[in-house]
């Protein structure tokens, strides 16, 4: 029996408004709240609402259907403002008991690159948010952009998690299959669940690509591929927005999703499982990853966020401001600073790379170029630094 683990990730960042050098000290908000909510409403119309409705229908129709969700804190903040009905739908779906929740950093941040206790604090904030919103205590952890390393595995185990998600990248699997349970060399009680990236990306990236030899992808064909894949489980981890936003509704992606459980049912060796269910059972082997592996770009490293001088210097500057913010102990400063740690801001500063990766980056950016993204970010951070200095009573 091979379990299908469908894990959908819901996230929206608090995008910055234009915060210019001359806005330093003006008291203006760094974040363009109306624009963020407008984007949220648009994505809710195209994706969150219709897809959640379909998922509720699927859970109702198919007793065996299971899925898992990761929902960031910034997503829920925006959802409450922009589309409270989306939160209600999520609660209803989780309330069916057939959904596994996945914890991560509240701010979908790069906190795992910061000195402790920031990562711990942000994961605990998120855990608490999930408890309050969904009355469920997550047992599985993922990091931003599926970042994974031996060090992060140890962190997850120490925080009491049973499982952690990772990219099933040949660079760490060394010829082994991503469809088996592994345990981390550094964390023997932690099960590592790997993303099956070819099958995940067939949906997430290739579904509507007309020059793909398998186009069009039907749920029968896809279920056939799943049925022919041996292993403990198949990790289909992707953005929730794949359905209706990255792949638009007129591509037939919603119908594909709706028809998938029925197509899977024709394969008696396949079953659906949540992340927690998939993590039960003995691991086949250990996995080691001294370096951080992510699910992004061709190189699966941190290059998308920390590949160039702009990104590195922005993170270094953010770290320094973080020390001042900790000293200041002002909740407003905390929130602004943590929102600035959201990985999306760094992603917008990406320069170069291969053309395919650059297109993906540009697609998700709200800046005309990485230099605007960097200058804007640094202005906001410089302003925050001044506020933190003032609040902590320190001088430069």
């Amino acid at each position: 029996m091979t379990q299908i683990v469908l894990e959908l990730h819901l996230h929206q960042p608090w995008r910055l408004g234009r915060f210019r050098y001359l806005d330093l000290g003006s008291g203006r908000s760094y974040f363009d709240i109306p624009r963020n909510l407008e984007i949220f409403r648009r994505v809710a119309d195209r994706s969150y609402r219709p897809v959640l409705d379909r998922l509720l229908g699927l859970v109702d129709e198919h007793d065996e259907f299971r899925l898992s969700l990761s929902v960031t804190g910034t997503f829920l903040e925006q959802a409450r403002e922009a589309a409270p009905d989306v939160v209600e739908r999520l609660q209803a779906l989780v309330g069916t008991g057939r959904v596994g929740l996945v914890a991560e950093t509240y701010f979908h941040s790069l906190a795992f690159l910061l000195p402790p206790p920031e990562l711990h604090d942000q994961v605990e904030l998120h855990r608490e948010l999930l408890r309050q919103t969904f009355r469920q205590d997550p047992r599985t952890l993922r990091m931003t952009e599926l970042a994974y390393s031996d060090h992060l595995a140890r962190f997850a185990e120490a925080r009491g998690f049973r499982a952690m998600l990772a990219e099933g990248w040949p660079g760490i699997l060394h010829g082994h299959s991503p469809t088996y349970r592994y345990c981390a060399v550094t964390a023997p009680t932690l099960t590592v669940l790997m993303r099956h990236f070819p099958l995940s990306d067939d949906i997430a990236f290739r579904f509507s690509s007309r020059d793909w030899s398998e186009y069009p992808l039907t749920s029968e064909k896809f279920a056939g591929w799943l049925g022919a894949t041996p292993g403990d489980f198949i990790g289909l981890f992707m953005d929730f927005e794949t359905f209706g936003e990255h792949q638009p509704a007129d591509s037939g992606i919603l119908e594909f999703l709706s028809a998938l459980p029925a197509a899977v049912r024709r394969h008696p060796d396949l079953a659906w499982a949540t992340v927690d269910e998939a993590a039960q059972g003995p691991p086949r082997d250990t996995v080691a990853s001294p370096e951080i592996v992510t699910w992004a770009d061709e190189r699966r490293d941190l290059g998308a966020w920390l590949g160039n001088d702009l990104q590195k210097s922005a993170l270094e500057a953010a770290k320094k401001v973080g020390r001042l913010v900790r000293l200041a102990q002002d909740p407003e400063l905390w929130t602004d600073w943590r929102r600035l740690l959201t990985s999306d801001h760094f992603y917008y500063m990406y320069v170069g790379g291969n053309p395919a990766d650059r297109r993906v980056h540009q697609h998700f950016s709200n800046y005309p170029n990485p230099f605007d993204a960097y200058a804007n970010y640094m202005n906001a951070l410089t302003d925050l630094r001044r506020r933190a200095l003032a609040a902590s009573g320190h001088t430069e």
């Binding site: 050098y21 230099f371 960097y374 200058a375």
Partner: protein, 411 residues
């Protein structure tokens, strides 16, 4: 592909056109300014273009309005009214000299000089076979048209800037008329940017099928010492003309000067706006923070551009903006106004509305404050600026010549 191959072939000597398929051309280029005596992009463009054309194996005769000292270019014959070749044939005719007003730096007898030049061009008789007459801007259009007609040669006109732009929409009818004359009679028109091309079509009625875009380029400079940016300087270099928007630069400088006490603002170049700009700097309270350099030599210009922390080109209109390309080639982060032609060939610069003083101030401040930003923009901008050189531009120009010759023959 052919272009790239030609560019990468210096080891085997300068690539020459194969005589069988593409016979070398005789190009008569009607010039105006020429190094070392030039004040803008036109002189640089003329020099680099004839140099490349001659290296490609073409015969170039370059006409100048006055017999002045100029850089020599191997393979290019220079001609001017009253020169050694001219004098014996026109006894008694003294060439008319331009009179440059010491107050304004502009030529006061421009119309007469242009008339004299055009008459001389139209009367040139000893040129041999001519394939192309290539005129720049407006000053030689009437004579160039007549010469091309008489020699059954194709007429190509390159427009570097228009009279509407130079006069900020108050054109001098006489110059406008000469410009229109060239555009109306040219077999092909070359614009130095897409932006300018659109203007030639919209405002001058140029037939779109006849207007090609050939950008300017820069010559890669040799290895230079790493810039010592102490004190940091923010610089404009170019003609001090109204269309250059230098007011905006000074106002932006005034906006941020108090927050950057160690930064030096620099204005290099000369022109009619100088008195106004001096007054403005004083009125803005930054007279002690702005250095007006006056005339800047080629060597000084190269040095200043490479040592600057930021180069600013805030032009109200800027058909191309070769100084910005030079700054980028020197690895200096660059801010230009949105309408600048140079912004069409690179995304690795900041683009600002020419009137937006605050935004210029923001961008300057950001480049001064965040070294990784200015480093990255500098490196990427340099790559863009040097990706293609004058060789590519000359090959594109020859392509336009061949189109024009083809049209002239089949007309």
């Amino acid at each position: 592909m052919a272009r790239a191959t030609a560019f990468k072939a210096p080891a085997s000597g300068v690539p020459r056109l194969s005589a069988a398929s593409e016979p070398p051309l005789h190009i008569v280029m009607v010039g105006w300014e020429f190094p070392p005596d030039h004040s803008g992009g036109l002189g640089v463009h003329s020099y680099e273009m004839v140099r490349e054309l001659a290296q490609l194996g073409h015969k170039v005769t370059f006409l100048l309005p006055e017999d002045r000292p100029h850089l020599d270019v191997p393979g290019v014959s220079f001609r001017a009214p009253g020169d050694a070749l001219d004098r014996p044939r026109r006894p008694g005719v003294e060439p008319l000299r331009a009179y440059v007003s010491p107050e304004t730096g502009t030529i006061t007898n421009l119309s007469e000089v242009a008339d004299f030049y055009n008459t001389w061009i139209a009367g040139l008789a000893d040129l041999g076979r001519v394939d192309v007459v290539h005129v720049h801007d407006w000053f030689g259009t009437v004579g160039g048209t007549a010469l091309a007609h008489r020699e059954h040669a194709a007429l190509v006109v390159t427009i570097h800037s228009t009279e509407y732009d130079r006069s900020l929409d108050h054109p001098w009818p006489e110059i406008l008329h000469r410009e229109e004359h060239g555009i109306a009679h040219a077999d092909r028109i070359i614009a130095v940017s897409r932006h300018l091309r659109a203007q030639l079509i919209d405002r001058y009625g140029a037939p779109p099928g006849r207007v090609r875009v050939v950008y300017n380029a820069v010559r890669p400079s040799g290895p230079s010492p790493p810039p010592d940016r102490r004190p940091p300087t923010v610089i404009y270099i170019g003609r001090l003309a109204a269309m250059k928007g230098i007011d905006t630069f000074l106002k932006a400088a005034a906006r941020i000067a108090p927050s950057f006490p160690s930064v030096q603002f620099v204005v290099g170049g000369e022109g009619p706006e100088l008195p106004h700009l001096l007054h403005l700097a004083a009125a803005l309270g930054i007279a002690d923070r702005v250095m007006f350099l006056g005339r800047v030599s080629e060597a000084e210009r190269t040095h200043l551009l490479s040592q600057a922390s930021v180069f600013v080109l805030p032009s109200v209109v800027e058909p191309f903006g070769i100084a910005a390309l030079e700054a980028m080639a020197a690895g200096t982060p660059t801010i230009v106004s949105k309408t600048s032609g140079v912004a069409e060939i690179s995304a690795n610069l900041f683009r600002v509305d020419f009137w937006d003083v605050e935004e210029f101030a923001n961008r300057i401040a950001e480049l001064l404050l965040y070294p990784p930003l200015s480093r990255t923009l500098g490196v990427q901008g340099r790559e863009d600026a040097l990706r293609e050189g004058w060789r590519e531009r000359a090959l594109e120009t020859v392509q336009v010549y061949r189109e024009a010759i083809h049209d002239r023959r089949t007309a």
